[in-house]
Symmetry: C2
Subunit: 875 residues, 2 copies
C-alpha cells in the first residue's frame, strides 16, 4: 500500500519529489541529529490523489494522518487538545520546487477555547496565548473557510481605535480575548458554523485547504511564469509549533555560519530574547549581536555553534540559519545556503578548501564567475546611493560605478580632461570610432541608443571603462549640448554618475568604494588555471589593453581589430585618401603612407605579448565609417585633398549603404581592394620579423580574415596574404611561421565549414555577427524591441549577452564538426562578446573550442568559467 504520510525522521534530502523541498530538508536536518521541531509530511502523491478523490481527504489517508499524529504526540511529549501543555502545529505547503508565498499556511493549529487557557497557564502569558489564538482564527478563517480577511483586520483596527492604541503590540490580553470572541462571531456570521473546536477537524480541514491552494490562481500563474509543471502537486508539512516568546528562557534569532560580507569564518547574526521570528525582522526592538548569546545563554550558544558547524560540514556550504529557544530548549527551524558578497564568496571558497572541507573543484564551483566583476570595479557607496536621483536605466554595458562632468563631443571631453583635469562622462546618442579619444579620457560613457554590442559598449569593455548604453529615456541634443529626461535638463559641465554594472544613471555625484582584490583572488584563479583545458585570450587593440589583459591572466590575443588604429588623427587623412582614391595606384600610394604606422602598432603589441599568440583581423568596417558626414566636413576634406566638393560629395554619398551591417565590409573589402589586405599583411609580417630580430620573441602572427561566407573569398584573399607574407619572410632571411585563418560569423560559413577549413589554419567565431545574421536582427536595432521580447517571455535571455545555444549554438556546433572533418587539428576559438560570459564559455568548452577571447576585464571570469565547465563535464 502506498505510504502517504512520513515522519520527518523517515525521509531525507533525496526525497524532494515525494516530500517536497521543505519536507525533505526538515527530514535531512532531523537525520543529522539536529533539534528540529518534529512533524510529518503528507506527500505530493497524496495531493494528486486528493484531486482524484474530488478534493476530499479519503478515509485511509485520514487514518494514516491520525496514526502518524499519535507518534508525533509521543515524540513531542504533548497531546493534541492536551489540558496541560497542548500540542500546537503549523500546516504548510512545500512543493518540490520552491514557490515562495504562492500557497497557504496555517499556524498555531490546535488552539481552541480550552487549550488557549492551558497555553496561557503553561506560558504564564495570557496575552501571548490569546494573541496566538486570534491569529489562528484569522488565518484559518481566511485560508480554510474563505472568510474575507479584511473583516478580521477591520475589527482589529476598530479595537485599537476604541482603546486609543497605535500598535498591535499595545493590545492587552483582555483586548485580545475580546477579539477572539469577535472573530468567532465573524465566522459564525459569514459561514453559519461555529469555529471548529476539535483540533483533528482543524487539521484535516487545513490539510485540504493547503492541497487546494496548489491550484489557486496565483500559484498557477507563478508556475506558468517559471516553467514549473502543473502536475507535480505539493506536499503538506505538519510541524510542532515552538515559541520564542513564552518568557525570558526563550529567544529567537538568525545567523550565518560565516560572515556574509567578508567571508570571515565566524558566526554572524542577531537574536532577541522572548520574541517571535518576525520581531527580529520588524525592527521594533533592536536585536543583539549573536556573540551576546554566549553571555546570556552560554550553553545554548555552544550548542547552536556546534549545530552550525555540523550543518556547514554536512552541506559543505556557508549556512543561513533560523533558530528558536523555547523554555531553554534550542530548536533549529530552517537552514539554507547563505547569500554573500562577492568578496565573501571568494574568501569562503578558498578557506573552505584550506580547511579541508572541500576540494579545489568544489571551491571553484562555489564562486559564480560573473561575481568576479564586483571585485574588479568600484561600486557606489550604498548610503549615498539611496539619496541619489535616478535619471533612468539603460543597458549595463561595461561595469564600474563612476561620476563626472557631462560632455557631448569627444573633443570637448578631451579638452576638459586634459586641459582642466576634469573627470568627464561622455554622453552621446551613439558613439563612432571617431570618438575614440574622448572615450579614452572619459570616466564613463553614456549613450541613448545602441545595444550591448554597440560601438560604445564594445570599446568601453575593451578599455575597462564604465558604460551605460541605449538609455532610451534620454533625449540627447548633441549640438545644443544638453540632454533631458522628462523635466530634468542636464547641460554640458553638469555632474552625473552612472553604474555600468546595473545600467543606472544618476544626477550629481555619488561617493564610490574602491575594489580591493585579496590574495584569495590569485589563489582561486590559480586553481582555475590548473583545472581548465580551454585557453583564455583577450580582445585588445593597443599595447595598453594587451598589458591589462596579460595582468589578468590572458594567454594571447584572440582579436586585435585594426580599424581603431585608422582613426588616429595622424593617419585619418591618409586613410581617407586611400578610400577616395580613383585607381589602384593612388590607393597604393595612400596605403604606403599608412603602412609604417600600422607596423608600429603591431610591433607595440607583439612586444607586450612576448611571443604569446596574437590574432590580427584585417580591416572589417565599411569604408564610409571613416569618412566625414556633414557638408562642412566634406568641404574641408575636399579642400585638403585638392578635389572639388561635388565630386567628393558624390563619392561619399555613393559609399552610403542601406544596411551597413549587411554591406561592403569584412573580406568583401579585401576582395574588391586586395591592396588593403596586402598593406596590412606587410605591416603584420614586417612588425613580427622586426620584433623577432630585436627582442628574440618567437612571434607567430595569426592573420584573420573577417566575414568569410564563400570558399572562393577565402582562397582569393588568402592568396594575396600568402604571396605577400612569403615574399617578405624570404627577403628577411629569418625563419618565421604565420597562420591564416578566418572568422566564422556568417551563417553560410558555418554551414560550409568543411570546405572553408581546407584553406583555414584556424576558425574564430564572431558570435556578435553570427547572432545578428542567424536571428536576422542587428544588435543596434534589436534594442528597440528586445525588452518587449524579454518581458513577454519570447526570449529568456538577450542572445547578444549569452549565446543562443539552440540556434546560433547549433550552427557553431555544426561548424566545429564540419571544420574538423576536413582538418582534424583545426584550432577554433571565439572572439565575439560572448567569449567572456560564463554560460557561453561553458558552451564553448562543451563543443570543443580551443580558446575563448574576451575583453581584458573579463579574462578572470572566462578563466573561472572555463574551469567550471571542465569540472561540470566530469560530474
Amino acid at each position: 500500500m502506498e505510504k502517504y504520510v512520513y515522519l520527518f525522521s523517515e525521509g531525507d534530502t533525496s526525497m524532494k519529489g515525494l516530500l517536497g523541498g521543505k519536507g525533505a530538508d526538515l527530514a535531512e536536518m532531523t537525520n543529522i541529529g539536529l533539534p528540529v521541531p518534529q512533524g510529518m509530511t503528507i506527500t505530493t502523491k497524496a495531493c494528486l490523489r486528493f484531486y482524484d478523490e474530488g478534493e476530499k481527504i479519503w478515509d485511509s489517508l485520514r487514518d494514516e494522518i491520525l496514526q502518524t499524529l499519535k507518534k508525533l504526540e509521543e515524540i513531542a511529549g504533548k497531546k493534541f487538545a492536551g489540558k496541560d501543555d497542548p500540542l500546537l502545529v503549523s500546516v504548510r505547503s512545500g512543493a518540490k520546487i520552491s514557490m515562495p508565498g504562492m500557497m497557504d499556511t496555517v499556524l498555531n493549529l490546535g488552539l481552541n477555547d480550552e487549550t488557549v487557557v492551558s497555553l496561557a497557564n503553561k506560558s504564564n502569558n495570557p496575552r501571548f496565548a490569546y494573541d496566538s489564538y486570534r491569529r489562528f482564527i484569522q488565518m484559518f478563517g481566511d485560508v480554510v473557510l474563505s472568510v474575507d480577511k479584511d473583516l478580521f483586520e477591520d475589527e482589529l483596527e476598530a479595537m485599537k481605535e476604541r482603546n486609543g492604541l497605535a500598535f498591535d503590540t499595545e493590545l492587552t490580553a483582555e483586548n485580545l480575548k475580546e477579539l477572539v470572541g469577535i472573530f468567532k462571531a465573524i465566522v459564525k456570521d459569514k459561514k453559519g458554523i461555529d469555529f471548529p473546536q476539535d483540533p483533528v477537524e482543524q487539521l484535516m480541514l487545513s490539510v485540504e485547504a493547503v492541497f487546494r491552494s496548489w491550484n489557486n490562481n496565483r500559484a498557477i500563474v507563478y508556475r506558468n511564469l517559471n516553467d514549473i509543471p502543473h502536475d507535480i502537486g505539493t506536499a503538506v508539512n505538519v510541524q510542532v509549533m515552538v515559541f520564542g516568546n513564552m518568557g525570558d528562557d526563550c529567544s529567537t534569532g538568525v545567523a550565518f555560519s560565516r560572515n556574509p560580507a567578508t567571508g570571515e569564518n565566524k558566526l554572524f547574526g542577531e537574536f532577541l530574547i522572548n520574541a517571535q521570528g518576525e520581531d527580529v525582522v520588524a525592527g521594533i526592538r533592536t536585536p543583539q549581536n549573536i556573540d551576546e548569546l554566549k553571555n546570556v545563554m552560554p550553553e545554548i550558544y555552544e550548542q547552536f555553534a556546534e549545530n552550525c558547524l555540523k550543518l556547514e560540514q554536512h552541506y559543505k556550504e556557508m549556512q543561513d540559519i533560523e533558530f528558536t529557544v523555547e523554555n531553554g530548549k534550542l530548536y533549529m527551524l530552517q537552514t539554507r545556503s547563505g547569500k554573500r558578497t562577492a568578496a565573501a564568496a571568494l574568501r569562503i571558497a578558498v578557506e573552505m578548501h584550506r580547511e579541508g572541507l572541500i576540494t579545489k573543484e568544489e571551491a571553484l564551483m562555489k564562486m559564480e564567475p560573473e561575481r568576479l566583476d564586483q571585485l574588479l570595479h568600484p561600486m557606489f557607496d550604498e548610503e549615498d546611493l539611496k539619496r541619489a536621483t535616478e535619471l533612468g536605466k539603460g543597458l549595463a554595458a561595461s561595469p564600474g560605478a563612476v561620476g563626472g562632468q557631462v560632455y557631448f563631443y569627444a573633443e570637448d571631453a578631451v579638452k576638459a580632461a586634459k586641459e582642466f583635469g576634469q573627470q568627464v562622462v561622455l554622453v552621446r546618442k551613439e558613439t563612432s570610432p571617431e570618438d575614440i579619444e574622448g572615450m579614452t579620457v572619459a570616466q564613463g560613457i553614456l549613450t541613448s541608443r545602441g545595444g550591448m554590442t554597440s560601438h560604445a559598449a564594445v570599446v568601453a569593455r575593451g578599455m575597462g571603462t564604465a558604460c551605460v548604453a541605449g538609455c532610451e529615456v534620454l533625449n540627447v541634443y548633441e549640438k545644443e549640448k544638453y540632454f533631458s529626461v522628462g523635466d530634468i535638463v542636464v547641460k554640458e559641465g553638469d555632474f552625473i554618475s552612472l553604474d555600468g554594472g546595473t545600467g543606472k544613471v544618476y544626477l550629481g555625484e555619488i561617493k564610490t568604494v574602491s575594489p580591493t582584490v585579496s590574495g584569495d583572488f590569485e589563489v582561486l584563479m590559480g586553481w582555475a588555471d590548473e583545472v581548465r583545458t580551454m585557453r583564455v585570450r583577450t580582445n585588445a587593440d593597443t599595447p595598453r589593453d594587451a598589458q591589462q589583459a596579460i595582468d589578468f591572466g590572458a594567454e594571447g590575443i584572440g582579436l586585435c581589430r585594426t580599424e581603431h588604429m585608422f582613426f588616429d588623427e595622424t593617419r585619418i587623412s591618409a586613410v581617407r585618401k586611400m578610400i577616395l582614391a580613383k585607381d589602384v595606384a593612388a590607393r597604393e600610394a595612400a596605403l604606403n603612407e599608412i603602412l609604417p604606422m600600422q607596423k608600429e602598432d603591431f610591433k607595440g603589441i607583439f612586444k607586450v605579448m612576448k611571443g604569446l599568440p596574437v590574432t590580427i583581423r584585417l580591416l572589417d568596417p565599411p569604408l564610409h565609417e571613416f569618412l566625414p558626414h556633414t557638408e562642412a566636413e566634406i568641404r574641408e576634406l575636399a579642400d585638403s585633398m585638392g578635389v572639388d566638393f561635388k565630386t567628393l560629395n558624390e563619392r561619399v554619398s555613393g559609399l552610403q549603404e542601406f544596411n551597413p551591417m549587411l554591406g561592403h565590409r569584412g573580406c568583401r573589402l579585401a576582395v574588391t581592394y586586395p591592396e588593403i589586405a596586402v598593406m596590412q599583411t606587410s605591416a603584420i609580417i614586417e612588425a613580427a620579423l622586426e620584433v623577432k630580430k630585436e627582442d628574440g620573441y618567437n612571434v607567430v602572427p595569426e592573420i584573420m580574415i573577417p566575414l568569410i561566407g564563400v570558399f572562393e573569398e577565402m582562397t582569393y584573399v588568402k592568396k594575396h596574404i600568402v604571396e605577400t607574407a612569403d615574399r617578405l619572410i624570404q627577403n628577411s632571411g629569418i625563419q618565421m611561421d604565420y597562420l591564416v585563418g578566418t572568422m566564422i560569423e556568417i551563417p553560410r560559413a558555418a554551414l560550409l565549414s568543411d570546405e572553408i577549413a581546407e584553406e583555414a589554419d584556424f576558425f574564430s567565431f564572431g558570435t556578435n555577427d553570427l547572432t545578428q545574421m542567424t536571428y536576422g536582427f542587428s544588435r543596434d536595432d534589436a534594442n528597440k524591441f528586445i525588452w518587449e521580447y524579454l518581458d513577454k517571455g519570447i526570449f529568456e535571455k538577450d542572445p547578444f549577452t549569452t549565446i543562443d545555444q539552440k540556434g546560433v549554438g547549433k550552427l557553431m556546433d555544426m561548424s566545429v564538426k564540419l571544420g574538423r572533418s576536413t582538418r582534424p587539428d583545426l584550432k577554433i576559438g571565439i572572439c565575439g562578446e560572448h567569449g567572456g560570459e560564463p554560460a557561453s564559455v561553458e558552451f564553448c568548452h562543451n563543443i570543443g573550442l580551443n580558446y575563448v577571447s574576451c575583453s581584458p576585464f573579463r579574462v578572470p571570469i572566462a578563466r573561472l568559467a572555463a574551469a567550471r565547465a571542465k569540472i561540470k563535464e566530469n560530474m
Copy 2:
C-alpha cells in the same frame, strides 16, 4: 594491343572520350550512311602516350597511321602525293569537350611542288591550286614549324601593294605561285630547312604539332576557366579535303533543317556555287536561298534534303548543317543542334511531338523555360536598335522593351500619363512603396541603385512592367529633374527606351515588336501541367495581378503582401495615425479605420481566386517606411494630426533604423503591436466569410506570419490570430477552415524547423531574406560589389537570381526535413523571387516542396521548369 587509330567508320557517338567530340560525331554521321569526307581519328590515348614518349610519335603509332592512311586512300580513291588527283587532308584537334579555337589546325596537307600542279590541272584552276598551297605553307609554317605568321602576312601585303591590289581575291595565279616561292624562302631562312615535300612527313609533323597544342598556353587557360581536366588529351582528326570551289559543279552552303526564326518545318539556308565555306560568311558574294539549289542542282538538293531529314530523325533535333559539293558530289561536313528563336523552339518542340518524332517529355526538355519570357514581352526592332545610343547597362530586372518620356517623381508620372496620355518611364535612384501609383502608370521603370530584388525590381516583375534596376552609371538628380551619363543629360520629358530583358538603356525612341503567342504555347503548357507534380502559385497583391496570374495558369496565391495596400492615398493617413499612436487605444482606433478597407482588398482577391488557395502575409516592412521623411512633409503631417512638429519629428526619427533589413519588422511588429495582427486577421477572415456567403467559393485563407526566428514568436502571434479568427467564425455561424503558417526566411527558423512546424500549418521559404541573412549581405548593398564577385569568379551566379544550393539550399533542405519530422504532412512552398527561376524551381522540386510561387509573368516559366524537374528526376 591498344588501337590508337580509327577510321571514321569504326567509331560512333558513344566514343567521345576516346575519339574526341568531333571524331565521334564524324563517325556517327558516317555510320548513318551520310556522305562525309572520310578520314581517321588518332585517339586521345595516343595523345597521352605522346607526352609519355617525350612528345614524339613512336614507331608503332607511325606504322598504325600509315596502315590506316592506306585504307583511307582506298576509300577516297586518291593517293597521297598522287600525280593525277592527289589526296589532300586536313589535320584538326578534337577533344572530348569542345574547346573552339584553342588548338591548332592544318588544312590542304599533301600539297607540294608536284601535287600543286596536279591539283591545278585537275581543277583546271591554277589560281585555286596555288592559293591552296600558299595557305598550307603558311599554316604549316605557323603551327608545325613555329615560324612567326606575321612574316607570311607581311609578304602577302607586300605582294598586293606591288601589284596595286586591295583584296587577296584579286591576286592572280602567278602572284600566288610567286608567293609560294617567297613563303618557302621564309621557312628556309628562319628554320634552316627546306619546306617538307613528303606528304607523310608533313602529316607526322602536323599530328605532333596538334598533340603539342593541347598544352599551349591559351588551351591551358581555357581549361582552367571552364573546369576541363588537363589529363584527358585531344584526339587528332585527319580528314580528306573536299573543295566547293573547283568549278561550277561545286558549291558550298549552310542550312537548317527547319526555319530557326519561325520553326516552320522547311529547309532554311543559303549556298554559293563554286565557293569555299568562308565565302558564304564573308559577304563578298551574296549567297542564294537554299530553295534555289533545287533548280541549279536538283539531284544534289534532293539528296541533301533527304540527308537533313535523316539527321533530324537520328538526333531528334533541328540541325544546323554545313555541306560542300565537289565536282557534282555532295559531302556533309558538319551537323549540330541548331540555334533558334524562342518562337521557333516552341513550334519545333510541339510539332516534333505531333510528327511522332519525340515524346511529350522530350518536347518539354527542348524548351528552355527562361526563353518563354521572350514570347510574352515586346522586343526592340533589331534594325532600329543598331542605330540607338546606349546610355548604360543595369540589371535586367523585369523583361520587356519599352520607351517613354522620363519623369522623376511618381506624381509627375501619374499626371503625365493620366492627364496628357503620355507614355512614361519613371526614373529614380530607388523606388519606395510611396511610388506605387507612378510605377503602375509607367511603361518602364529605371533606377540607379538597388538589386534584382530591390523594391523597383520586385514590384515591376509583379506588374509585368519592364524594369532596369541599379544602373549605376546614371547620376540621378531627382530634385533637379534630370539625370546624366557622362556628358549626356536627360531631362524630364525627354524620351528614353529600355530593355528589361537585357538591362540596357537607350537614348530616344526605338521601334518595338509585339509578342505573338501561338496556340503551341498553350499546348506545351498543357503537357507541362500533365507532367509536373509541384504546384505553381503566384505572388499577387491586387485582383488585377491575381487575374493576370490565373490567365497564365497560376493555381493559387503563394504570397499576397499586405503593405502595398497601406500606401493608398485614401488610407495612408490612417496608417500613419496608427503608427504614431501613443497608446493601444489610439492605435486600435486608427486600425479600425483601416479594417474595412483591408477587408475589401481581400474580398477582391478572394473573388478573383474563386476558392483557389490564397496565402496572405501579415504586415512585414518596418513602420518608418510609411512615414514622411522630409521636414516639410513631417510638418504637414503634424498639422493634419494636430500634434506639434517637435514631438512628431522626434517620434519619426525615433523610428529610424541603422539596418532596416535587420530591424523592427515582420512578426516583430506583431509581437510589439498585436493589435495590427488582430486587425489584419479580422480583415482576412471577415472577407473570406463574406465571399463564401456571397459567391459560395470555398475560401480557406492561409495566414502567413513573416520573419519568424523564434518558436515563442510563433506561439505568441498565432495565439492572437487564432483567438480572433475563431471568434469571428463562430459569430458568423458559417463553417470555415483557415491555416496559420510561417515564412522561413531567417536562418534560425530553418535550423529549428522541427520545433516551429509544431505550430505551423505550412512553411513558405522567403529566399530573398534567407539569402541575405545566410550570406550576411543585403540585396541592395551587395549590388555594389557583386559584379566584382562575378568577375573574379567568386560567384558563379548571383545568389539573388538563382538559389545558392550549397549554402542557402542546405538550410532549406534541412528545414524541409526537420519540419516534416514533426509534421509529416507539412505543406511547404517558396515565395521568394527565386520561385520563378528555372534552376531554383528544379531545386525546389528536388527537395520536396509542394509549390513554388512567383510573379504572374513567370508562372509559365515555373510550370515548364517544374515539369522538366520531374522529367529529370525520372531520367
